[in-house]
């Protein structure tokens, strides 16, 4: 066996071994009455933008893609989802006072306008999450509502 074949086998074994280690990939229980849509009653256009581009990381309704089952990518994705939910969770909007909700929407507006959100890597995989200026305007308008 050439060293190349040996290396290939070794790498494959390592990669297979890695698959035994999988992160927690679950959608926690949530109360439908507590969601952004139930509490803030957003315009359908706004709800649609957020669902399309943000809900995978900022809600309890994550659609886990097939590659989220492949380590070590699974770890990176699970980590983004956990962190994303910790910063902003549209499924738990009833936990926020009106004032805190306003802060979160203002930040969302700023992040989107600055091109920081959704995360660049996510946009690369999800063409539907590449937001137009009009999409961003929906978020920014909501953040200015009284």
């Amino acid at each position: 066996m050439s060293w190349k074949v040996k290396l290939a086998i070794l790498v494959s074994l390592l990669a297979a071994g890695l698959q035994l280690y999988q992160p927690e990939r679950s959608n926690p229980p949530s109360n439908p009455g507590g969601s952004f849509e139930a509490v803030a009653r957003p315009a359908p256009e706004l709800a649609n933008v957020l669902r399309r581009a943000c809900y995978d990381c900022h809600s309890n309704e994550t659609r886990w893609p097939w590659y989220s089952r492949v380590s070590p990518v699974s770890w990176l994705i699970a980590r983004d989802v956990r962190r994303g939910r910790a910063h902003l969770n549209f499924s738990e909007w009833n936990r926020l006072s009106p004032q805190a909700a306003q802060h979160k929407l203002r930040e969302a507006c700023e992040e989107v306008r600055a091109g920081e959100m959704p995360l660049a890597l996510y946009r690369w995989f999800h063409s539907e999450a590449r937001l137009s200026a009009a999409d961003a305007d929906w978020i920014c308008a909501a953040s200015k509502a009284p």
Binding site: N31, Y67, H87, A100, E107
Partner: protein
């Protein structure tokens, strides 16, 4: 597979950029937008409280006769000379019984969006009805007894009349709570931090500003924001990994909703230097431990000793001034022969 490989490479890159830089003491003003200075008073839905109402509230706050044993007042557990706390993990109420939660401070509390660790009271007025009849706190068996005590003291009856001139029968539980609430609405402790937020960059030392940057970099303001650096939302304790002490389910007790298990009100950080011990169970003795557990359980980050110290240096700049004139204990009206006697039974 190409996608996955690129994902790995980019992921590693992302990890790299997450690494530390030396904290600077230049604070980006855009990052301060999530905070606000303390208001001068916390507005009440019924209008501006009168001086008479506040004076009555102050007396009631200090009066142990609102308890069954006539030994425990609000001030026993929320000592206004000690930043509104008793510095005990959990407080001793009627006959030395202990509740299961730590006493939060009453300073600035009125400005929160909800009261209690689980938010079960919407405001300080509603809150003030709780402790008087809580069996392990002031343990009054009924509101009738509370009213009987107050009505037996002519000076109180007069004070209620002055505070509620339009009411025919002003001595009642709702008015008692409104008076205490009115007093609490001005228990505010402005700090150097407020001067800083209003534009005086020199109001914080360079070390405090560097600490603020570490606080912001870690992401603490995700939850600890607004005028109080807290008191604006509920959050799960143990967001990134389960919190070990699961004995108190938090807001679940109020809503019975599975999603609210281990969800607590995010507490204020003003005066946090002075309000040890910490967390709802009072089991966290030091600010070091509180900050490190926060980073660990809420943000999935491990802070170095240096970073922890820097954050604590910043947190200390939130310690405000106690309004000593405002909280001065008034002379309490004398009991009469008609006043019910203290009851030391369980």
């Amino acid at each position: 597979m190409r996608h996955a490989l690129i994902a790995i490479a980019l992921g590693i890159l992302a990890f790299g950029t997450g690494c530390q830089r030396k904290p600077s003491d230049v604070v980006d003003p855009a990052k301060l937008k999530v905070f606000e200075p303390l208001p001068e008073v916390v507005a009440a839905s019924y209008g501006t409280p009168s001086e008479e109402l506040i004076a009555l509230g102050r007396m009631l706050y200090y009066d142990p006769r609102l308890s069954k044993s006539q030994q425990i007042s609000c001030n026993t557990c929320h000592d206004l000379n000690k930043y509104g706390v008793d510095n005990e993990p959990t407080s001793e109420g009627h006959k030395g019984q202990k509740g299961d939660r730590n006493s939060p401070t009453v300073y600035n509390a009125a400005a929160q969006f909800a009261q209690f660790w689980d938010g079960r009271a919407p405001d300080v007025e509603e809150q003030a009805k709780g402790p008087v009849m809580n069996p392990v706190e002031m343990a009054m068996p009924s509101d009738k007894l509370v009213i009987a005590v107050l009505k037996s003291i002519p000076e109180y009856v007069d004070a209620f009349r002055r505070a509620f001139p339009k009411d025919k029968d002003p001595v009642n539980l709702d008015n008692m709570a409104r008076a205490i609430g009115a007093f609490e609405r001005r228990l505010l402790t402005p700090a150097r931090w407020d001067k800083f937020l209003k534009g005086d960059a020199q109001a914080l030392t360079s070390a405090e500003k560097a600490g603020l940057n570490v606080f912001l970099e870690a992401g603490c303001q995700t939850c600890h924001l607004g005028a109080l650096l807290g008191g604006t939302m509920f959050q799960k304790l143990g967001l990134m990994k389960p919190y070990p002490d699961q004995s108190d389910p938090g807001r679940y007790r109020v809503t019975k909703n599975e999603a609210d298990r281990m969800v607590f009100k995010v507490p204020m950080l003003r005066n946090v230097e002075k309000t040890a011990p910490y967390f709802h169970n009072g089991k966290v003795a030091t600010l070091e431990q509180a900050v490190q557990e926060m980073a660990d359980y809420q943000l999935g980050k491990t802070l170095s000793r240096k970073e922890t110290e820097a954050i604590i240096t910043f947190l200390k700049s939130l310690t405000g001034e106690i309004p000593f004139d405002y909280i001065k204990q008034p002379e309490l009206p004398k009991s009469t022969a008609r006043t019910p006697k203290p009851d030391l039974s369980d």
